[in-house]
Symmetry: C2
């Protein structure tokens, strides 16, 4: 079976028809680019993905990294594939040309990365975390730190990690206890235990640059006393060459449900007296630096979730088109040949749901990447500010909607394959396992929902919320003027009305009621908000498809656009109306969860 | 951490308060039993579960069976645990005393089995399939076959399997091609390939009795030409001792997402000329025999799904009560101690949902077991017939509701544990993987939905449907007379109204519209139907709890009953109202899935 990794046509649709990425070449940063260079970088990523990652995808899953008490071992093909990725320039697609990057717009880089992530799955995490680490030091480090640590990371000599979580401080980072003591030479000695450190140890690179959150002796308690340190696995000699081992020890590996291409480590810092660390930026401001990168990190998680959903959808679609089984209810002849299972309406429903979830999620994540870009490179200050404001309110949805609906989508892929999907003869059960981490890391769905309702919606006099409502309205107006979409426009208009009523009701409750109670169903608000956002994005896709169909495209394009419209219709019939149930729970200030007591369980 | 496997108090509530199982001792079959013997058998099962299965639960998952081309290897502790189960008499809890069984009512046996299944997880499948196989031969085999094959299975010397699925015949059994040729001695020679045969090969027992579906040469095509054969792994000598190897070869093992305590095999029959098989019952009636056992098999799947959900709920509950992390939104002091996560309303929501799903599912499965019992042992013919009719319509719901909501429940258990839940430091990710098979085997959710809408609802002039409506109404009436439940009674009444409207609309469409289109959203009908059934069972639990609270019980019981009421309220606020969305899809005859074409994807 050779299912496509991703649907090329769909990703081109998103890039060039839905988001008009070609227009980005008019911005000075992208002046040397063209539609052709965008497509070439995507084609390169696809080639590397197919040549290096796809053949080892299952092997990575079956052979998770092991730890013999001294070293981490993993299958050697991972290094070969990562090196090939770096050699193709795909380790730093958005970085400046002068730093060896491709200087691609983030939205194009996201599409290129999707091919790698769909096949390399979680092994790509080594490169993604390295890139995030390098960006953080670039933003807040000294020129010397950038030269020492970022440059080797940008060319793949060093790898990077983010060391935040501790055994007693996961979602509640305020409680972290790792400590730092200033030494006479101005460096620090770091002590503490960190867990779930992705890529925390390996032999894939010459060195590993840990970015560690720790509390300087005497610092205030809580979130305001946390500083950020560069703590390398190996110290460097004066000339930058690899020196002696720093006091960072691998305590063990976690064995995860999925994501087995990527180590998850417990690291002990300072067991021999203190690991040497270098302060990044100012003391006590570490958490704010880390959170400054949070938007990109959360888009990365959402995009990974969407991508795994997309590839599972393509796989199960391909299977459904080829697997004969059973007959239609209308079939009067039990001796007739079985039909391919895509002929069964319920299989089409499961495929349509996957299409609606995964393509809706990907559209949202690409919008997020574009907003990051706009917030830096849009032509006017006003346009940049507007993009940043929209981005901020959308981030909890970009993180959580794909993370919640990605696994749901992969779950349906398993169901389409039936018994075969439950075995590792096919990758769909692995996709589910890989995707299941996404509602957890980088802020759980519960945390995203509090961020949205208690922070992002009220923020700046509700400016982000208002801007988003304007966006919804312009989508509704555009759809209303197209007869085929008038009913969907009407439905979205009603949905936005429900969102407004619910929001107003909750904001009032947050001021007049017990705040814990008023926020107790925040996840349902996030779900409601998310479904409206995705419905709006499906309407926008429907508008593009409708206009394209009016131009009588050739048959394969006509089929493609009809599929887009049908997925939009599916979403509006099956998914969007659920907001009515959630709105009632929210506006009623339903107390089922809030009133429940620990002793009653 | 030592979370309880299951909540003893809750299972006693279901047995003795919700279903009044003690009254069964008035039936002659159970005259020698008492509440005490019921509890003793459950306690025995719990002891075996804790002593033999719990300690190896993770080891079984980590060491799935392997096949070296000749033999299956598995960890030796599995045989020890299964032998201990058999030695305790737990291999045949419902069988007659004279066959060495405990002659327990099925509902009591289900509760006892739940402890084993929750800890032994899928390894219990060896015994459960053996028991199902023995029951089938007991019902349709000759006295000689019963003596030869059933007796050794009842005492654990032989194991049994069901060999139905073939590479090209899974959901569509009508297309199976395994063949049987009659030999001169009246036995048959079986040839063909079977896959996904649970327990298809192992060294746990002296022999394995495969029940194989095959087509006798010259038989009609389709479902009416399938016969059932006993095909042992080893032929028996005249005296019943193990003779030579039959022509049944293990071709390989499937590697599954979960359920790793149980082999899933590909078996080749007749590679050396034909495996010796013995016809069960009459020629060409094999499928009807197999389907005669289907009700029990489907209840078994539902109960397994519910049990895995229950144990995951207990585990995450225990974790949430002990794990400190974060502070409440109302907390003004960031330096205060973190709270246990059960203090977070969203964690309580996730626990309440698990409680509502898992205890609702278990109540449904126990009702199913009781109806099986009633259909055989109720006092009057009328009562037996009524039980059988109710059972038949409920079977697709008993199979599918727990199978769909069990994994959802386990998914929430993972989320409660956060990052920890994604690792194998805790069993919740394994529970999810184990549970994920249940919506697939013994008839997928899609197939159950067609069984319900196209067959069970219209069957016998809608008699089952009408009886069920009567049951709903008597629950509503009983609740109406209790002030605290009047609002839930009203909600259920409205929900039943929606069910009736939807059913009538669909039945009309099935007669006037294209049948494939009319049935195209049948899964949504199953979901709607299922939520009404579960809501009714939660109302019944609420009635029992309300009456018990009126008697001012001691504190721990008061807490327990308040928890039941709160879970009922959760279900009515968060889950039941979704039927409005599904009803609209169904009554609109929504064509999203039906109209979608393969080329549009």
């Amino acid at each position: 079976m050779s299912a496509p990794i991703l649907c090329d046509r769909d990703l081109e649709f998103m890039l060039f028809e839905l988001f008009d990425s070609e227009s980005l070449t008019r911005r000075s940063r992208y002046a040397e680019h063209s539609r052709e260079t965008f497509l070439a970088s995507i084609a390169t990523a696809k080639t590397v993905a197919e040549r290096y990652f796809l053949p080892i995808r299952q092997k990575m899953d079956l052979h998770q990294p092991t730890f013999d008490g001294k070293k981490v071992a993993m299958i050697p093909e991972i290094k070969v594939a990562l090196d090939a990725t770096l050699a193709a320039g795909l380790g730093s697609t958005t970085a400046d040309f002068e730093l060896g990057g491709m200087q691609l717009p983030p939205i194009v880089a996201s599409v290129a990365g999707a091919y790698l992530s769909a096949t390399g799955s979680t092994a790509m995490g080594y490169l993604m975390l390295t890139s995030a680490n390098a960006s953080l030091i670039s933003a807040y480090g000294t020129p010397e730190q950038i030269k020492t640590w970022v440059e080797p990371m940008r060319i793949g000599r060093f790898a990077g990690t983010m060391a935040m979580t501790e055994p007693s401080a996961g979602s509640g980072l305020a409680d972290l206890t790792s400590s730092a003591v200033k030494a006479d030479d101005g460096t620090y000695r770091i002590t503490g235990n960190k867990i779930y450190i992705s890529g925390g140890d390996h032999d894939l690179s010459e060195n590993i640059v840990h970015l560690v959150l720790a509390r300087i002796k005497g610092a205030p308690k809580g979130t305001k006393g946390i500083s950020l340190f560069i703590v390398p696995k190996f110290l460097l000699d004066e000339d930058g060459s690899i020196g002696e081992r720093n006091d960072v020890a691998l305590a063990g590996l976690f064995h995860k449900m999925g994501g087995r291409g990527h180590t998850s480590c417990a690291l002990n810092f300072g067991e021999q007296g203190g690991a040497v660390g270098y302060l990044v930026g100012e003391e006590h401001r570490g958490l704010s630096y880390m959170f400054h990168m949070m938007n990109e990190a959360r888009i990365m998680v959402g995009t990974g979730a969407a991508t795994t959903a997309l590839t599972g959808y393509q796989y199960s679609l391909h299977y459904a088109k080829e697997r004969p089984q059973g007959r239609l209810p209308s079939c009067k002849d039990p001796l007739s040949a079985p039909v391919n299972i895509i002929e069964h309406a319920d299989v089409r429903r499961m495929l349509l749901a996957q299409k609606a979830y995964s393509e809706g999620a990907m559209a949202l994540c690409l919008l997020g990447s574009q907003l990051v870009d706009d917030s830096h490179t849009a032509e006017t200050d006003a346009a940049r500010a507007r993009a940043k404001t929209l981005l901020d309110i959308l981030i909890p949805v970009i993180k959580s909607w794909p993370s919640e609906y990605g696994p749901k989508s992969n779950d349906l892929a398993i169901q389409v394959l039936g018994g075969a999907g439950y075995t590792n003869d096919h990758p769909v059960e692995m996709f589910y396992r890989d995707n299941r981490l996404n509602p957890i890391h980088e802020g759980t769905t519960g945390i995203q929902s509090l961020d949205l309702l208690a922070r992002k919606v009220p923020m700046n006099n509700m400016m982000g919320y208002q801007l988003l409502l304007e966006e919804f309205q312009s989508g509704i107006d555009a759809a209303h003027s197209r007869a085929e979409l008038a009913d969907l426009a009407e439905q979205l208009s009603e949905a936005v009305g429900i969102l407004k009523t619910t929001t107003n009701s909750l904001l009032a409750a947050m001021m007049t009621e017990n705040i814990d109670m008023a926020l107790s169903n925040s996840v349902k608000y996030l779900e409601l908000f998310g479904n409206v956002v995705i419905a709006w994005l499906w309407l926008k896709q429907g508008i593009v498809a409708t206009d394209a169909l009016a131009k009588k495209p050739h048959e394969s394009d006509e089929n493609f656009y009809r599929g887009k419209l049908q997925a939009a219709r599916y979403f509006y019939s099956f998914e969007l109306p659920q907001i009515q149930v959630w709105s009632k729970i929210l506006t009623d200030l339903d107390r089922s969860a809030y009133d429940m007591r620990a002793a009653w369980f």
